[in-house]
């Protein structure tokens, strides 16, 4: 068996020269320090993305993307298809954990200032994937075509419509018309299963190539040490095996969540019924949703909601561009301001999410 594999490797190597590439990848090291644990969340995010692709393809075998059939087909998956409930529940739970894992990954990179020179592009591609993940969540939420998802999509796209200038055409584009209808379902279905995965995969590829090319970022305090004093472990196989073990644990957590808290379906969407009480967006939109509630109707000459959206937009832009305005970290100096801003952002998100949850 081993002999056969070696022969195959030699056969391939003779033709495309993978030896150099394998040697190159073997030289990847992971810095070892007190915050090393945060390195794992990029891998966990990747694993959850793979789970999403696999379970998503499985769901596509039975799902029907039209307003007449969507709800029935999901019901069919949940009740008739063997283990259909499991596949859908894993997809739903994995989506939530995916976004949570991305949040953790992003904030850990932020606090370690790993975005600093020369890794600005890695940060930017990561930020784009973060936005794509949010849109993945938004578009996937409508697909079961139940009451909750219908009204959540209505509210969500309406908020997008409040953005000045680009808002109204954006809203029409997302909805595929004036209102949330079957056309919206077809459109978001297309985004969710074709457009977004395509773009996401390309950007993920760039993100991973950059990491492979530049090596894993060392924290500031480690960078100044002599090469000999630095503790590190090889990526292959030491770090990867630890990675795999964690993936296994994550998979088990997913299975437990899916079995004990399976995804619900609710009632079929009816465009001519009233919105059910207690309607809320998914938890990762909750802090923004809740913040918008606190804005007064009008601030000076501008509508409160519009001002809120603009402020979130500005904050997002500032966040995206942090490698470019945080000059101190780029020079290798400590930047306290970044930490304070980060702590503020984390506290803000947590507190408003809780407020949104209990209200």
């Amino acid at each position: 068996m081993k002999n056969l594999l070696q022969k195959f490797y030699k056969w391939v190597d003779e033709r495309v020269e993978v030896k150099g590439l394998v040697e190159y990848m073997g030289k990847k090291y992971v810095p070892v320090h007190r915050n090393s644990i945060w390195y794992y969340f990029g891998g966990v995010s990747l694993f959850l993305f793979i789970i999403q692709v696999v379970t998503g393809i499985l769901l596509l075998f039975y799902y029907k993307g039209s307003s007449d059939l969507a709800f029935e087909s999901v019901k069919f998956i949940m009740s008739k298809v063997q283990f259909g409930w499991l596949v859908r529940s894993i997809h739903a739970w994995s989506a939530n954990l995916f976004i949570l894992s991305i949040f953790i990954h992003m904030f850990s990179v932020y606090f370690e200032k790993s975005y600093r020179y020369p890794r600005e592009m890695t940060w930017v591609t990561g930020f784009i994937m973060f936005l794509l993940a949010l849109f993945f969540g938004f578009s996937g939420y409508l697909l079961p075509w139940n009451e909750l998802s219908f009204f959540a999509t209505r509210v969500g796209s309406d908020i997008a419509g409040a953005v000045p200038i680009i808002g109204p055409p954006l809203k029409t584009f997302i909805r595929g018309g004036e209102d949330v209808t079957g056309a919206t379902l077809s459109r978001l279905f297309g985004f969710h299963v074709a457009l977004l995965p395509g773009i996401f995969t390309i950007i993920l590829g760039i993100h991973l190539i950059l990491i492979q090319r530049q090596g894993i970022s060392e924290p500031l305090h480690m960078e100044k040490k002599k090469e000999k004093e630095k503790k590190k472990m090889p990526f292959f196989p030491n770090f990867m095996l630890r990675d795999l073990l964690l993936w296994l644990i994550v998979l088990n957590i997913l299975a437990i969540l899916a079995v004990y808290f399976p995804a619900e379906l609710g009632h079929k969407a009816d465009p001519f019924s009233s919105a059910p009480a207690g309607i809320k967006p998914e938890w990762y939109f909750l802090f923004m949703f809740q913040t918008l509630k606190y804005f007064p109707g009008h601030v000076l000459f501008i509508e409160g909601e519009v001002l809120g959206i603009l402020l979130f937009g500005a904050a997002g832009l500032l966040w995206l561009l942090v490698p470019f305005w945080d000059r101190k970290s780029a020079r290798g100096e400590h930047n306290r301001l970044i930490n304070y801003l980060g702590i503020f952002a984390v506290m803000f998100i947590i507190i408003l999410t809780i407020l949104g949850w209990v209200s």
Binding site: L58, F76, V81, Q82, L86, V87
Partner: protein, 151 residues
């Protein structure tokens, strides 16, 4: 003994761990692939077993014409001959399962996919079809035409 454990004791411990790990791994793989393959198996749809269907009123069918009738989930071809009598056959070609049609110009049942021909008794007379078409019986009740399976 403690300082120098017997090599046999070591191998059996190693072997035990090996079995444990391999077994665990196989069990784990099975717990993933069993649901996966079960999921891929299309669930049985409750299909009503049809033994006869109403094809339509006798006036719906012109002489020297054929029509495809839905018989449960299968197509059946109902032909009204020039002498105004009815014939019905399973419309699935015995060659590669295309749906056949009646050709009044040729006076045969013809399959467009590979130019298979059947005569008006359903016998395969030319082209690739290996077997004749199964005949169904046509029953007239008043002014209505029913198709039913030959028992």
């Amino acid at each position: 003994m403690e300082e120098n454990p017997s090599s046999q004791g070591q191998t059996s411990r190693r072997g035990f761990l090996k079995y444990l790990l391999t077994g665990g791994l196989i069990g784990f793989a099975a717990s993933i692939f069993y649901p996966l393959f079960s999921y891929l198996k299309p669930p049985k749809q409750t299909e009503v077993e049809v033994s006869s269907v109403l094809a339509g009123k006798i006036t719906d069918f012109e002489p020297d014409k054929g029509k495809i009738i839905k018989f449960g989930s299968k197509p059946v071809i109902l032909i009204r001959l020039k002498d105004k009598t009815f014939r019905a056959f399973e419309a699935t070609c015995t060659h590669l399962a295309c749906t056949v049609q009646f050709r009044s110009d040729l006076g045969v049942i013809w399959c467009a996919c590979h130019n298979g021909k059947y005569d008006l008794n359903g016998r395969n007379i030319s082209g690739p079809p290996p077997r004749p078409l199964t005949e169904y019986s046509v029953i007239q009740k008043g002014k209505e035409i029913y198709i039913s399976k030959n028992a």
